[in-house]
Symmetry: C2
Subunit: 194 residues, 2 copies
């Protein structure tokens, strides 16, 4: 038995259109938000994307997107897909390992309760998010789960910087588009709560 | 690009030796702890295993083991592997979906900060653990990460029962064996903390 998670068939061509180096955080987030929009336009997953970059140079390593519904895998959030693809590409389970440059994860909203932990184990040293307020849940109906009450401080205590508020309005525009599409919101447990 | 996670080559033969139905929680946990021990004996991952069962009948769906180091994937904890394999086997991203029996996850310790969220999104209705105290971190040196301070109450508020303390001593015996083996403890970020 094995688990295979793939990027959507449109992704390779779209990655090829991106500049290989994106010096500013706004460029990096623009690419991530673009992928979050493409993912809903192609009906290939939820409105979430995440990119792994070399923090200092802005060199793109990988971009991942949410693949929960098409691949029947509730773990396949954008962050876990991106981090796993980056680790595979670089041949390490630890993006913070000796001799590696510092890596950064750029996501179009704050990580959910699961991806929060995935960030810690990944070895990245920097997390850049478009926002962390109630907008995501309010607009889309997605549940972020039981987020740790001091999530930012806990990340920073582990040497992971958190940069919040990069292109918030551009990110929430995609959430509005997702809601208007009428696509499935697949929070945990669609069946009877009993 | 794709991510492929496989069970170790010894796993199929070992699963075939298990009874297909395990009525008691002790039988289920015994099987899980056995797999956690096999995983370190075969050097195929960390000392962790997780089984997905039909809660009421005890029918085994899948057993997963930790695969972080051999597969270069920090997401590949026993719980995420087991939940993903079960979802793939059953053809759904939601183990709590309409018409399905109640599913239970049995793990040889409490979930880490990441797997905690993975439990919420998986759709399972019951979590059985061997323990949740400081023993795991104290014995092995593994970091459980920033666990939510009210993790059990948050799971129960989402309709996921938590049954703690099943075969605690049997579980910690494997952690002792792991420590004595001198195997790598691969907490997030082996490199420079700066």
């Amino acid at each position: 038995m094995q688990i295979t998670l793939t990027m959507p068939d449109w992704a390779d061509a779209e990655v090829a259109k991106l500049p290989p180096i994106m010096p500013s955080l706004e460029e990096r987030m623009t690419a991530v938000i673009h992928f979050s929009r493409l993912n809903i336009e192609h009906n290939s997953g939820g409105p979430f994307a995440a990119g792994v970059f070399e923090r200092d140079s802005g060199k793109l390593v990988v971009i991942g997107v949410n693949r929960v519904v098409p691949q029947n895998c509730s773990v396949a959030h954008a962050e876990t897909v991106a981090l796993s693809l980056a680790q595979q590409k670089l041949g390490t389970f630890d993006l913070g390992g000796p001799g590696l440059p510092a890596y950064q994860l750029v996501v179009n909203w704050r990580p959910c309760a699961m991806c929060y932990g995935a960030v810690v184990w990944s070895g990245i040293r920097s997390l850049v998010i478009a926002g962390s307020g109630p907008e995501l849940e309010a607009i889309t109906g997605f549940d972020e789960g039981p987020i740790h009450p001091h999530w930012q401080a806990e990340l920073e205590a582990r040497g992971i910087e958190v940069i919040d508020g990069v292109l918030t309005n551009e990110a929430t525009a995609v959430f509005h588009a997702f809601r208007e599409s009428g696509a499935l919101v697949y929070n945990g447990r669609l069946g009877n709560k009993a």
